[in-house]
């Protein structure tokens, strides 16, 4: 039973990794490629580490496998965010079918400053400040 579950987990994990690699080859631009790799590859590694924990079934090994899973789950989003940010900074081109780029009107590529569009909200208006 454990053997069967281990093999199932390994196989599903390997298939997810293959899907991630297919996505990184087939998808059109940086952000969609990152969408394929971060999620599918993280899930694949997580499933295989679960299989390792099931197969050995000792406390030390299970703790280490869960440690790997926790580490991957914590670092993969951070790495993806940082790479996506750097990719936008250096101006990697988006797919021509992209419908919406909400960062573009608010982002200054020279100074890397971002406008929120609500800059005047916090200031007191001059006609109200003298009111009794």
């Amino acid at each position: 039973m454990t053997e069967l579950l281990t093999e199932l987990l390994i196989l599903v994990g390997a298939v997810f990794m293959l899907l991630a690699a297919l996505g990184v080859v087939r998808l059109p631009d940086l952000l969609t490629r990152m969408h394929a790799t971060t999620k599918a590859a993280t899930l694949g590694a997580t499933l295989i580490m679960l299989a390792v924990a099931l197969h050995f079934a000792q406390v030390a090994v299970v703790a280490r496998a869960l440690g790997v899973i926790l580490f991957i789950l914590m670092t993969a989003p951070v790495a993806a965010h940082v790479i996506g940010r750097a990719g936008y900074f250096v101006g990697s081109r988006l797919w021509e079918g992209t419908l919406k780029d909400e960062l573009k009107p608010n982002y200054d590529p020279l100074t890397h400053e971002l406008k929120s569009g609500r800059e005047d909200q916090g200031k007191p208006r001059p006609d109200e400040s003298d009111a009794p």
């Binding site: 390997a14 590859a41 790997v68 750097a86």
Partner: protein, 89 residues
């Protein structure tokens, strides 16, 4: 070694080859960094499967180091790109 383990190793080797295609073709440096990150994730999986196939539990430490180095490399590449290092787009 059971056929399932062999099959999953073959699938992951194929995934490595596909990631290498993107690493080779990738039009810009961030694309290549994404492919490298995928490399390390697949390697963590391969090391896990090899640990199961050979019954060597200490191979897990290798997987931990692999994941850690991939994270550091991604952060380093991103800092390098944001500071405006040389690129070959």
């Amino acid at each position: 070694m059971s056929p399932i383990i062999l099959l999953s190793l073959a699938l992951m080797a194929l995934a490595l080859c596909l990631a290498f295609v993107r690493l080779f073709r990738g039009p810009s440096l961030p694309d290549r960094v994404v492919a490298l990150e995928l490399f390390s994730s697949i390697l963590v999986g391969i090391i896990g499967v090899v640990a199961i196939a050979t019954d060597v539990a200490s191979l897990l430490d290798v997987a931990i180091v692999m994941a850690l180095m991939a994270f550091m490399a991604a952060i380093g590449f991103a800092r390098f790109l944001e500071r405006g290092g040389p690129r070959d787009d």
